[in-house]
Assembly symmetry: C2
Homo-oligomer: 114 residues x 2
DNA sequence: CCTCAGGTACGATTCAAGTCATACCTGAAG
DNA sequence: CTTCAGGTATGACTTGAATCGTACCTGAGG
């Protein structure tokens, strides 16, 4: 199974309000900052973001990001892939990803750890 | 009296999180959309935005926008002026105002009234 | 079958934010 | 002085969001 994409809902009806609401949260912004900084746009696992919150809350945050149209979630059953919708975002909101990219990766959550 | 500027607090410490939180609210985003669309950047009165909320709540919203570093508030005692901090915003967050400007002025609050 | 790790669903809690009512301040105009 | 409009301060209410606990589902590997 290649995994089914769960992002269908809001493709071209991206709402700026929903996007700002999504990016208003520190943890979600951390995810988006990391995604924006990685121009390979490879599919990533949910655990690759080192979020200091429970897995239930992570599920919630990824759902918000998906419903805002910022990411795709690929369901593999017992695993999940995350992919930035870079092209769509750039088309509707040009410059938005650049703003996130200009932020220190991970923001105040990661500080310096290496 | 020329009026004293109340915006001093956060000039160069503009926080992207605070900005996104400020723009997450529909009414505040409406204000910013209108300000971004008017390139004359003239000082405007608080009542020029037609917000469908009480004046106490308007005070609250303008305070949030000011504390996020997005506007200046000029206090005339019994009157108040609002001015977009276009140059500062463009410097820290280039492209942000363009995103707002691309939105329909007033957004879903005004609908069409002309 | 069982076990295990990753993820979700539901409910409950906690907290921040938007909103307004009441009361008060400020300056301009009578 | 009084009146009035614009704005603020404080408190209270209400809604929404973030968080987690418990329970359950999913697929891989024994």
């Amino acid at each position: 199974m290649t995994g089914k994409n769960l992002a269908g809902p809001k493709t071209d009806v991206l709402d700026l309000g929903a996007v700002f609401r999504a990016l208003a949260d520190e943890h979600r912004r951390s995810v988006m900052t990391q995604l924006a900084a990685d121009h390979s746009d490879n599919e990533r696992g949910c655990n690759s973001f080192d979020l200091p919150i429970s897995k239930q809350t992570q599920t919630h945050h990824f759902r918000v990001l998906r419903e805002a149209g910022l990411i795709d979630e690929i369901d593999y059953g017992n695993r999940k892939g995350i992919r930035l919708r870079r092209a769509d975002i750039e088309k509707r909101f040009p410059g938005l990803l650049a703003l996130l990219e200009a932020e220190p990766s991970g923001g105040p959550l990661v500080a310096e750890r290496g």
